[in-house]
Amino acid sequence: MKIIIKTILLSLIVLLSSCATIISGSRQTVGITSEPSSAKVYINEIEIGKTPVEKKLKRNQEYQLIVKLDGYKSYETKLVKKFNAWYIGNVLIGGTIGLIIDPITGAMFKLKPEEIDGDLKSGTTLKTKNGNIYVNISMEIDPNWNKVGQLEKSE
C-alpha cells in the first residue's frame, strides 16, 4: 500500500512539475470583437487585423491595445499580467522544477484587460473560455464626426 501511495505521489510530482506551463502554455489566445465590427485592432501599435480578430500572445509581456473605427472614439486599454492560479500546483505538490520553469515560459501569468478600481474600462465586456480571453468593445460615437451625406448605388 505504501508503495502505491509513494508511486502516486511521485507521479503527481512529475506530472505537476511546471503545472502552469503544461496546463496553460506559454501563450494565450486573446479574441477581440467590437460593436460595430470591422474596427482596426492595434497591439503595441502594430495592426493585427479588423474585428473580430484573435491573436496568440506571450503571457510574460504586457500589451497596449488600441481599437479604431472612423466615426468612433479610439478605444485604448492595456492587457496586463495577472497571476495564473495553476502555478500554485507547483507549491502544493512541491514541483520545484515548475517553480522555475513557469516564470521562464511566462505560464505563471494570464493576460487580462487592465482594471481601474476593480472595474474594466467602460464599454468593455470580458469572457473567459478554456483559459483564453475574449474582449468585446462597445465603441463610443465621436461627436466630432458629422454625417454630411451618403453614397447610394445608381440603377
Binding site: N44, L57, G106
Partner: protein, 130 residues
C-alpha cells in the same frame, strides 16, 4: 518540512516579482508628453540620428537575473512608452548586447531625442509582436 515550505514560498515570491528587466532612467531635459497618435521612431544601432535634435534623456535595460520579459521588441516597446511620457520622439539604441551564455536577455543602452521634423520619414526599426 517548514524550511522547505519557506524556501518554496520565497521562490514563488521571487518568481512573481522579479520577471521584469532592471531599468534605470535619467531624463535631463524632459519635454511635454506626447499623445499616442504622435509617432516615435525606433532607431537601432545601424540607423543614424538626424540633425537638429535635442537630447531628452537616456535609459538602460539590464538583466535582473530573474528577468524573462526581455526580448528586443518588448524592451523597445517599453522604451517607446517611456519616450512618449517624456516628450521624446526618437528612441536610439546606442549599445546592444544580444542574449548569450551569461544572459538570456537583450541588454540595451538607449538615448531619447526630440526631433522637430517628421520622424516617419527616418529609416527605422519596425517593431514586431514576439
Amino acid at each position: 518540512m517548514r524550511k522547505i515550505k519557506k524556501i518554496l514560498i520565497l521562490i514563488t515570491v521571487i518568481g512573481i516579482t522579479s520577471c521584469s528587466p532592471k531599468i534605470s532612467t535619467n531624463f535631463t531635459n524632459p519635454q511635454s508628453k506626447l499623445s499616442i497618435d504622435e509617432k516615435v521612431a525606433l532607431l537601432d544601432i545601424e540607423h543614424n540620428l538626424p540633425e537638429n535634435i535635442v537630447k531628452v534623456g537616456e535609459m538602460r535595460f539590464q538583466d535582473s537575473a530573474f528577468t524573462t520579459d526581455c526580448s528586443f521588441n518588448s524592451l523597445m516597446n517599453q522604451a517607446r512608452n517611456e519616450a512618449r511620457q517624456n516628450g521624446a520622439n526618437i528612441v536610439k539604441v546606442i549599445e546592444k548586447k544580444k542574449p548569450d551564455l551569461w544572459s538570456t536577455c537583450y541588454r540595451l543602452k538607449i538615448e531619447f531625442y526630440k526631433y522637430s521634423g517628421d520622424v516617419s520619414s527616418l529609416p527605422q526599426y519596425k517593431l514586431k509582436l514576439d
